[in-house]
């Protein structure tokens, strides 16, 4: 193993182990199944471990891996032909009697029901705290398209919330 590759390998394994919970939640947002989420994260990790030497710039490791992970998730959705899935939330939340909580649940569910290409952008922007530039890297679309999709998502979410609130 070349010294550079060795460093890259170290960086990748550390990144995978440290950020695994984030990967899982992201995968879970697409498939809503614990077992499948673990499969998707593991499968993305294997692909990354296989191909990590192709990373040109180690600074892009994060966006590079997220791209692999999201592709895994989208492939899974295509295979299972379920573009939108009924959300099942952790028990304690779904039985929370607070109406305040229920409102957030609505917003959450609205996000989960967005079409995949919009959902990805909302998840990366608001739950993974990525910049538009990073999202452009992950999704392989240009920054302006990311921006317009994000606006479209927000608009859609507002509409869907209105409908829910009526």
């Amino acid at each position: 193993m070349q010294p550079d590759n060795q460093n890259l390998y170290q960086a990748l394994t550390t990144f995978l182990l440290n950020e695994q919970q984030k990967f899982y939640r992201l995968a879970y947002s697409y498939c809503h199944n614990p077992e499948t989420s673990m499969d998707l994260v593991q499968s993305a990790a294997c692909k990354a471990l296989e191909k990590y030497t192709t990373i040109q710039n180690p600074d892009y490791m994060k966006t590079w891996f997220y791209r692999i992970l999201i592709n895994e998730c989208l492939d899974y959705l295509r295979r299972s032909k379920r573009e939108t899935v009924e959300e099942t939330l952790p028990e304690e939340q779904s039985h929370d009697p607070l109406s305040q909580q229920a409102d957030h649940l609505d917003l959450y569910q609205a996000i989960m029901q967005l079409p995949s290409e919009l959902k990805t952008i909302v998840l990366l922007r608001y739950f993974e705290d990525m910049t538009l530039k990073e999202i452009a890297h992950v999704t392989n679309i240009n920054e302006n398209t990311v921006k317009s999709r994000l606006y479209a998502s927000l608009k859609k979410l507002r509409l869907s919330l209105k409908e829910e609130l009526v």
Binding site: E50, Q93, F127
Partner: protein
């Protein structure tokens, strides 16, 4: 931007997202994947210093070629003491390499001189060094996998310090004979200790056999003397113990039994630890004399 739901709503939604429970198995599964990809690379990999030994071999070949092609160089070489014949034992290479949990320490002996015998022995030693190193690496890779499969983690593995030592020892050097042993020890298990003995007749440029040293009846001579010495040791030391022939103890030597030659010019038969006696007895040596 959001006049219907506020920034606060979004923050609470984010908290909801953060509360999605992550199964504990995920971590183990990722570590498993990481381990799966790492050893696959290791297994095919040749330890770094072995690549250099190929280079050293090429240099040696070039030197030998020059000796063979140039009468002037060859003359110069044969004028040096021992170099023209079998030559001297020297440390060709000393490598220490630390590869995470494993440290290699390889002291690679070689014989100087350009005789066919020197070259043949050097080739044998190089082969032993390479083979033992690769085998040790493979055994450790297998152990590594088993360690991970049974619940160990990469970080726990990294805390190990396995040592693989290949070394040699000059046993005897007289005007006539040169004896040395090459040893390979893996310290994580004594079972993986191996020795190779080399004996050279410097005057005749040969590798003397027990038959050369003891005569036609060498097997009979050796067996009688070894049995006598075992009996003597049992008689003088009440703690001494040897396996009986039924237990796998000593029955007879053969032409391949390892030995070295001592200063008196006598062959010394060597039985490795556990081979004819319990482990506490250590290595057993028997000096034989021509009757």
């Amino acid at each position: 931007m959001n006049d219907i739901y506020t920034q606060e709503d979004l923050q609470q939604t984010q908290q909801l997202y953060q509360s999605i429970p992550v199964p504990k198995e995920l971590s183990a599964r990722l570590e498993q994947s990481i381990a799966q990809y790492q050893p696959a690379k290791k297994k095919r990999r040749m330890p770094r210093f072995l690549k250099f030994s190929s280079l050293a071999a090429v240099c040696l070949m070039a030197f030998l070629a020059v000796c063979n092609l140039s009468p002037v160089v060859a003359q110069g070489v044969s004028d040096m003491p021992f170099l023209g014949t079998v030559g001297q034992l020297f440390t060709a290479k000393h490598d220490i390499q630390n590869d995470g949990a494993i440290s290699f320490s390889i002291t690679h002996p070689a014989l100087s001189g350009r005789s066919a015998l020197s070259q043949s022995i050097n080739a044998q030693i190089s082969h032993i060094v390479m083979e033992r190193t690769m085998e040790a690496q493979q055994r450790l890779d297998e152990y590594h996998q088993a360690f991970l499969d049974t619940g160990g983690t990469e970080s726990e593995w990294a805390e190990h310090d396995f040592q693989i030592n290949i070394n040699y020892q000059l046993l005897c050097r007289t005007d006539q004979y040169l004896s040395f042993v090459v040893t390979s020890v893996e310290d994580w298990s004594n079972a993986y200790e191996s020795c190779w003995y080399y004996n050279l007749d410097l005057q005749h440029c040969t590798q003397p056999t027990l038959q050369d040293l003891l005569g036609e009846d060498y097997i009979q001579i050796a067996n009688t003397q070894i049995q006598q010495q075992i009996a003597d040791r049992l008689a003088t030391d009440s703690d001494a113990a040897y396996f009986s022939p039924e237990e796998g103890g000593f029955t007879s030597i053969n032409e391949g039994t390892p030995f070295y030659i001592n200063k008196a010019g006598n062959p010394v038969i060597v039985f490795e630890r556990y081979s004819i006696a319990p482990g506490f007895m250590g290595r057993q040596e028997f000096e034989l004399t021509k009757e």
